[in-house]
């Protein structure tokens, strides 16, 4: 057996959530990724976010494609169904899953190879449909499983481990999402749990496609000095512009903020996101200006992070379709089949 089952040890004093579950109940199998891989930190952030939101694990479906990042759904929420699709095609599976059962909480984990090369089309159409899911790209600039080829997110001038220099411009999922009308666009860093956990929570509660591009260094193939996706580089050049604090429904806002610094966004379930400006010159909620800002900072070699754009007013896939509220997979056959009499009647036009 090549998968490793993690022993479940629950300490007496371990905190329990509203469902009476501990954080252990949100974990999965043992990670088989390299020691120090950024992806494992994201897995930990996911565990924490689902635990803190009191979501029953079996109401979640974990979606992924192919690659190192796509292996990670095996490492969290072992009581959730998982779907390891073919390379780059997770968004279509997620679309069908959500079409059939709109109550399912969909968490997609993909990588820069899976989403920005082979799956770029499906990624963009998932965005365009405003599919109600969280879509995390664990972005490290390289193909890990095939041993270190550049991915489409590699920056110009970045060096591969074996010395090759990348000369093609990167594809930035954040800028794509902005341009395509993404309704929740965020970027974070696997090493910044304080920023990442609230982003994941907000993404889960957002009705629509929540993209979180997470820079997640590859310790084996892309963590060296000349890489722009290394831990050291990301730490030095990341530029947080907005901190998003997540406040569940009916909870008081406790922290004191100066007026004008915080913009609350109410989500469909009554929870709120408090957008706190970190960079004074960033305008929250203006798509055009945001795109320009991100591009300018990118030119200056900086990586803009935070919840960069959110719009709760855009309709998601089911709203556009006008689907009934009940999940389609739960409708009894009697309501779906028009019956013998209707069949006889409707054939009049074929006589």
């Amino acid at each position: 057996m090549t998968s490793i089952v993690k022993p479940k040890i629950i300490h007496q004093g371990l905190k329990r959530n509203a469902l009476g579950l501990t954080v252990r109940d949100y974990e999965g199998g043992m990670s088989t990724l390299c020691a120090g891989c950024g992806h494992d930190s994201i897995t930990a952030a996911l565990v924490q976010a689902f635990f803190e939101l009191d979501i029953p694990p079996h109401s979640v479906a974990k979606m992924s494609g192919i690659g190192c990042s796509s292996k990670t759904p095996a490492y969290f929420l072992s009581a959730s169904h998982g779907f390891n699709a073919v390379h780059g095609r997770m968004p279509s599976i997620a679309t069908g899953a959500h079409a059939a059962n709109r109550d399912l909480v969909l968490i997609g984990v993909s990588g820069d190879g899976d989403s920005l090369s082979i799956g770029l089309g499906q990624f963009m159409h998932g965005l365009r449909r405003n599919l109600n899911m969280v879509y995390i790209i664990e972005n490290n600039g390289v193909y890990g499983l095939t041993k270190g080829q550049f991915s489409a997110s590699a920056d110009v001038g970045t060096k591969a481990k074996r010395g090759e220099v990348n000369k093609q411009p990167p594809i930035d999922p954040v800028q794509i999402a902005m341009a395509l009308g993404g309704t929740f666009v965020a970027r974070s860093f696997s090493g910044d749990k304080d920023q990442l956990v609230p982003l994941i929570k907000a993404g889960i509660r957002h009705t629509g496609f929540a993209l979180i591009d997470v820079l997640s260094p590859c310790v084996t193939f892309n963590d060296h000095e000349d890489s722009t996706k290394s831990y050291a580089h990301t730490r030095e050049f990341r530029h947080p512009v907005v901190q998003a604090d997540f406040v569940p429904p009916a909870q008081e806002i406790k922290a004191a903020y100066d007026e004008g610094e915080v913009m609350p966004v109410e989500l469909h379930d009554g929870s709120r996101i408090l957008l706190r400006k970190v960079a004074k010159d960033y305008t929250v909620g203006n798509r055009g200006e945001a795109i320009e800002y991100i591009r300018d900072r990118q030119r200056a070699g900086e990586i803009v992070t935070g919840l960069l754009y959110i719009d709760e007013s855009e309709p998601d896939m089911h709203t556009v379709n006008g689907t009934i509220a009940a999940p389609l997979n739960q409708l009894p056959h009697e309501t779906l089949c028009p019956g013998a009499e209707a069949l006889a009647k409707l054939q009049a036009r074929y006589r």
Binding site: H58, H81, G82, G96, H333, A342
Partner: protein, 606 residues
């Protein structure tokens, strides 16, 4: 060129040569419908270009008192409305037949045949004189020839008017204009020709209890009745009208009467790769989901089809086959995806195929496809084709058994999961090769990982040789189970004991049935086995064994059905002989009659 006998009451072929985009389709289907309502068996074949306006298009109407609905190969009456194809249309008329043309423009040079009757009607001039709008003039020319044909063939004019009124129910002015055009053509014919022609119709009572419907519409109805809720697709000829029909039936029958909310979700995907992905995502969640496509779409779906086979997810795919390879001829028919569908994807894969032979079976087998996909937890591909899918066929009225309940297969619900100690996805407790599955969101104990990578019988990742082999060997057991569950072949026994048999699938059926009658008249008696599914099952194997010689009739160049038979049944290739038709036109019976006669001659000589 076939010979047309002088008197052909209720037994002739009417062919109309038009320019596409000129509105001829509605006039031509009106003609067919009138004949149908007069109680005479009829079928219509549309030979249309992959184009919106300006290219040649033909419509062939076969009128057959004996109920033969395939093509006969003859043309008894040609309506030549396209100057660009006039020469070849003239040539195609059977000896003793009739050609009708628009005599507004002289065609002297082209009226070069003396073995047929040529009738000229100044259709354009008549319409120009009576209608002012340029577009109307073009459209009404078609209705004017309908009028002329009404006189020549003695069509029921009351029925014509009835149909015109039905067509333009909401636009009284259009009814009037169309009737005026029809009368123009009619009056001219009565005044100038000996009406009716010896080739004409006479009311019968052979169409009651029947409808004229195309296979895509019938298949869409099957999807509605089977309870499909998710449809995903990418537009591709000739399958597009299947989803169009599904949508329009759903608009009428699948909306909440109070809120107008839909209990279905149709997703127009970005490509076929996504369309099949959407189907799998929905099926994984227990919704009945389908996608209509054609050969190029099947090619793109290959990776996911293998994934679905290996992860054991239900899916229903309609392959409305067209001429390949590559873009091929998108508006012409063929049965050339048999092998690519049967073995779609890399690795050891095999897929359940169903072969409807007419729209009635498109309805029936669409429902069966969903039941089989759920029961077997695997993709089921319904192998229709352009001829069945897009042409109007006369078939028995569709009926529905109110006691039908969908077979959702082995799905464990919350209560069952509560009672089990642990759930393992790929165990085979029943020994039929079909494991139990669970749906997301139902119960924590049901959770498992769908993965196309190596997995063992417990559903866990594996790279172990024995564990992997155990899973794929069980899939072979499942294939054997499928052979017992799929629809059996339809066998037509010859009136006399026969050493020879015909084996075929799908839309070859009308041509074969007609050929069998013709051959019997000549003293050649042949049994016929129409396969309705892959895996083939016992009865197909028996049929092959019981006949000294089997003629495999199919519509592709490489005898794909014959290959499949040899591969799946081990029947010796040398005991099978191919009769092939693959030019893109629906099969006509002559190739079968000639093929068997030739075989008999050679047999006699040996």
């Amino acid at each position: 060129m076939a010979e047309s006998t002088k008197s052909r009451v209720n037994d002739f072929v009417l062919k109309l040569a038009n320019v596409n985009g000129t509105g001829s389709a509605s006039a031509n289907s009106l003609l067919m419908k009138v004949i149908f309502r007069m109680g005479i068996p009829v079928s219509g074949k549309n030979f249309f270009p992959s184009n919106i306006q300006g290219l040649p298009t033909w419509y062939e109407i076969r009128v057959s008192k004996d109920g033969y609905l395939g093509r006969s190969g003859a043309v008894d009456l040609m309506v030549a409305m396209n100057s660009n194809t006039y020469e070849r249309d003239l040539k195609e008329v059977s000896i003793g037949g009739t050609l009708l043309y628009d005599s507004t423009w002289p065609r002297d040079r082209l009226l070069a045949r003396h073995d047929i009757e040529i009738l000229g009607v100044p259709l354009a001039r008549l319409c120009n004189e009576h209608f002012s709008n340029a577009r109307t003039r073009i459209l009404m020319k078609n209705m004017a020839y309908v009028g002329t044909l009404a006189a020549l063939l003695e069509l029921d004019r009351k029925l014509i008017e009835e149909l015109v009124q039905e067509t333009f129910a909401r636009k009284a002015a259009l009814t009037e204009a169309n009737m005026q055009a029809i009368n123009l053509g009619y009056d001219y014919a009565v005044e100038h020709f000996d009406c009716p022609l010896p080739t004409r119709v006479q009311p019968m009572d052979k169409t009651s209890g029947h409808i004229m419907i195309d296979g895509n519409t019938a298949a869409a109805l099957g999807c509605v009745y089977a309870g499909a809720t998710v449809g995903a697709w990418y537009p591709i000829t000739p399958s597009t009208s299947l989803m169009d029909a599904f949508k329009s039936f759903c608009e009428r029958h699948r909306k909440d009467p109070k809120t107008g909310e839909k209990n279905y979700c149709i997703v127009q995907a970005e490509d076929e790769l996504a369309a099949i992905g959407i189907v799998l995502g929905a099926s994984w969640n227990g919704a009945r989901a389908f996608t209509p496509t054609s050969g190029p779409g099947i090619s793109l779906m290959n990776e996911f089809l293998g994934f679905a086979y290996f992860t054991e997810l239900p899916a229903v795919i309609f392959d409305v086959q067209r001429v390949g390879p590559s873009t091929g001829m998108p508006t012409r028919t063929q049965q050339a995806d048999l092998l690519s569908a049967a073995f779609a994807s890399h690795g050891d894969t095999k897929h359940v195929l169903l072969f409807p032979s007419d729209p009635g079976e498109c309805f029936e087998l669409a429902v069966a496809a969903f039941d089989l996909a759920d029961r077997l937890q695997t993709p089921v591909i319904v192998m229709s084709d352009l001829d069945i899918g897009m042409n109007d066929w006369m078939c028995k009225e569709l009926t529905w058994d109110a006691s039908y309940r969908p077979d959702r297969g082995k799905v464990l619900g919350a209560a069952e999961l509560e009672g089990v100690k642990a759930f393992h996805r790929y165990l085979d407790p029943d020994g039929d090769g079909i494991p139990y599955r669970t749906l997301p969101g139902v119960h924590p104990k049901g959770a498992y990982f769908v993965r196309g990578s190596g997995h063992n019988q417990f559903g866990a990742y594996t790279e172990d040789a024995a564990e992997y082999q155990q899973v794929v060997d069980r899939l072979r057991t499942k294939w054997a189970t499928a052979a017992k569950l799929v629809p059996e072949p339809v066998i037509r026994k010859a009136r006399k004991p026969a050493d020879w048999g015909i084996v075929s699938v799908g839309s070859c059926d009308p041509a074969i049935n007609e050929a069998l009658d013709k051959l019997a008249e000549k003293g050649i008696h042949v049994d016929y086995c129409r396969i309705r599914a892959l895996p083939f099952g016992k009865k197909v194997t028996q049929f092959l064994e019981q006949h000294d010689r089997v003629f495999v009739v199919e519509q592709n160049r490489d005898a794909q059905l014959k290959s499949l038979l040899a591969l799946e049944t081990n029947h010796p290739m040398q005991r099978m002989q191919s009769i092939l038709s693959y030019g893109g036109l629906p099969m006509d019976c002559r190739c079968i009659v000639e093929g068997l006669q030739e075989a008999q001659r050679r047999g006699a000589a040996a």
